[in-house]
Symmetry: C2
Subunit: 305 residues, 2 copies
Amino acid sequence: MSLLTVGSVAFDALETPFGKTDKIIGGAATYITLAASYFTKENNLVAVVGGDFPDEMISLLQDHGVNTEGLEIVQDGKTFFWSGKYHEDMNTRDTLVTELNVMEHFDPIIPESYQGTTFLMLGNTVPATQKLIIERMTTRPKLIMLDTMNLWMNIAMDDLKAVLKMVDLITINDEEARQLSGEYSLRKAAKKILEMGPTTLIIKKGEHGALLFQGDRIFFAPALPLEEVFDPTGAGDTFAGGFIGYLASTDDISFENMKRAIIYGSAMASFCVEKFGTERIVNLTQEEINARVQDFVNLSSFEIQ
Amino acid sequence: MSLLTVGSVAFDALETPFGKTDKIIGGAATYITLAASYFTKENNLVAVVGGDFPDEMISLLQDHGVNTEGLEIVQDGKTFFWSGKYHEDMNTRDTLVTELNVMEHFDPIIPESYQGTTFLMLGNTVPATQKLIIERMTTRPKLIMLDTMNLWMNIAMDDLKAVLKMVDLITINDEEARQLSGEYSLRKAAKKILEMGPTTLIIKKGEHGALLFQGDRIFFAPALPLEEVFDPTGAGDTFAGGFIGYLASTDDISFENMKRAIIYGSAMASFCVEKFGTERIVNLTQEEINARVQDFVNLSSFEIQ
């Protein structure tokens, strides 16, 4: 089934204890569509970049089967730029630079050919923009998934709550779940968030795995313990892309299939952190992905006699 | 098979955001033997208390089938006392009082009837004392498991490394694994620790579950997301007691069975934190334990098609 991803396509400059990069390709929608490309062939993108965005980066997305018809290029504008530096433990980072540039007035246009899409992935961006996108879909997608962050809870909580009423699934990290709900216990937090609109919640805990909540059901997916985390940038988006790409490819939104989708998403994220930026997720083989998923099976399976 | 636990039996005074206690029964060996009592009937204890330790507390242990022949009572001494206060997030705590009392000169005597025990659990205490206990066993147990803490890494690292060479399994938390190995990555940390002597390592991550390492094999057990964590005191010891109690009851130290044992240990720990001190783990039924283990199965099982 078809997937539409709306979100940022950007330049990132990263610094980790292992090294630093110049401007490389980044942005939520970049990671999401690249990760999803290993699962679904109908992989549509809506985003905006400036005239400074290199053609070869667009070709890279296209080579992965990403439909860039909805990628607006503002010739006299500059591409969204983010620069960050990770601390020694890789779990925390400082934002050094945020230049919104063309994202500041992003007015997402949905190409006619994208209408009727079955899966809609709203990458992390201004909640009002996420709401606008849903309103611009002529038929409601089968599943709408939304990613957001603490920034919008701080400065646009009302807008965020408005769009939450319109989506099926929200994905946030543990601290954001606590902030959004006002509850420290993740189980209580989940209960409150599921009363805000979505039927399903994914709480990402980074190196500690992810929790899936739906009604009274909970599923926990571990993260793979890695020898080295090289660069965590984009891991959450890669997770989301693998997750919704798998759902779209199977066209099955049952709880059991979402559990599988979380494992595929976690596998994709485990690749992402092994190298800088998108480097590791642009050249994966199906065999590598299957082997990594098997690692998750081995890691977490047990039998009670 | 028989289990011998050596460790502290103590008084604790606890303060959490939910309330505070006067002196209640605590200590590593208390939690370990109580948890193990649900699995193994040969549950032997070596510990020391003062003349101030109430008979009814000893009866409580005996009622759970704990053999207290090795519980030394120093009539003119005082029982080990620890007092702590938990922070709002329950993950960190301040020690308010530590009075070693009779633990300061603890000279563990192994009763003759305990010799030939198959499973030896060394609760967290002075590493030199742990070593002495192993040396006092006339036949080497089938499995020796050791718990320790950062304090001993700070003040008795050489003694700790000496006893590590003599044990099969060590259980520590993630920060302690990093301190002991000098590696931030838990996978690298595990590799180094397994070169120090033990063939098996369990890294406890509290609300984030536990990792089991043996050779190149890794197993991850989640923690159950709870509505409320009331008091985390003793959770790690209860985990260890459930784990080794299950191993002793099945007399099977294969990796597959250790995976099951970790789930049983995690289930016991999930009960422990629901009430103050040992309150929740002194009155469990087999049905409650089985239902809780089933919660873990439901939480973490998935099938890749």
